[in-house]
Amino acid sequence: MPHTMKRIAITGVEQTTQLDVRIPQPMQNWVLVKVHAIPLCTEYKNWLNGSVYHGHEAAGEVVMVAQPGKVNVGDRVVVMAGAPCGKCALCISGEYIHCQHMHDPAEFTGVAYGGDTHVQYLLKQDWLLVPIPDGMSYTRAALACCGMGPTFGALENMQVSATDTVLITGGGAVGLGGVINAKFRGARTILVEQVPYRQQKGRELGADLVLSPHDPDIHTKIMAYTDMCGVDACLETSGNVIAQRLCINMVRRRGKVSLVGECGNDLAIQASNDFIRKGISLLGQWHYNLTGHTS
């Protein structure tokens, strides 16, 4: 077992370096995971502006534990994000991502980078490690993080089925993962995305209708595609206020909208026309319920 490992760090605007750092030691239920796959999420935004980042997605192998627990050395696992308390009602019910009592990983790992995922070894509480099926690669399994996780959770919450039409706004990795999840359920899927590469990728993954957000007839086309009723459910993954508004306008009466894309800007909402008279549900979705990770 080595004593040091590589760690990625951003050192300035569009600059990175690899540091040799000490491998943290497991303690209590924090086990040591040898990282194999590191999916990239929004860290490139930190890279673009030179700010500190930590990473939150990984898959790897358990290589050391401090005490008997929920995993064993040799287990192949997907690493869930964050350091929730594991004791509150939200954690116990599987909604750990919303825990109000997140730990500072440094308190348990002894190092500031102890909770980072852009490393060769990391520490994680054993109950936040999802087993990988035999024969599945680490990279494929790692899609159970942000690649396919948040949209899976949103479609579960909205109870989307094969009789539904789903509007997905934003064709980044999360939105494209939403296409896969929606098509797996048999739903008709509309993808709204402006980048041609991602439009084509959406088609490859099964999107039935792909539209540009700049299409002046986008409302008409979506309504025509849904027999003038509107879509049954929306996955908003772009984090763009215009796309959020499109979802609210395009969802049918009694339909559901899940906001998945992070956004710090305000969305203007009118209670009567947007909600009361349409009877829609607007849901926030960060990840998925951990108790349902096997499905």
């Binding site: 590589k6 990239l40 852009h118």
Partner: protein, 48 residues
Amino acid sequence: MQVIRDSPVAENLITHTFPMNEIQKAFEVCASQECGKVMNLAWEGKTQ
């Protein structure tokens, strides 16, 4: 995990894979938006 295991197109979400020492290239691809999911591998390339 069932969707990831059973979907015939799940793997196609991964469009780029880079060794950890090529993180610069990985971030450039992410920023270009000409990608789906981008993966880094912690133990391939010069990092071994």
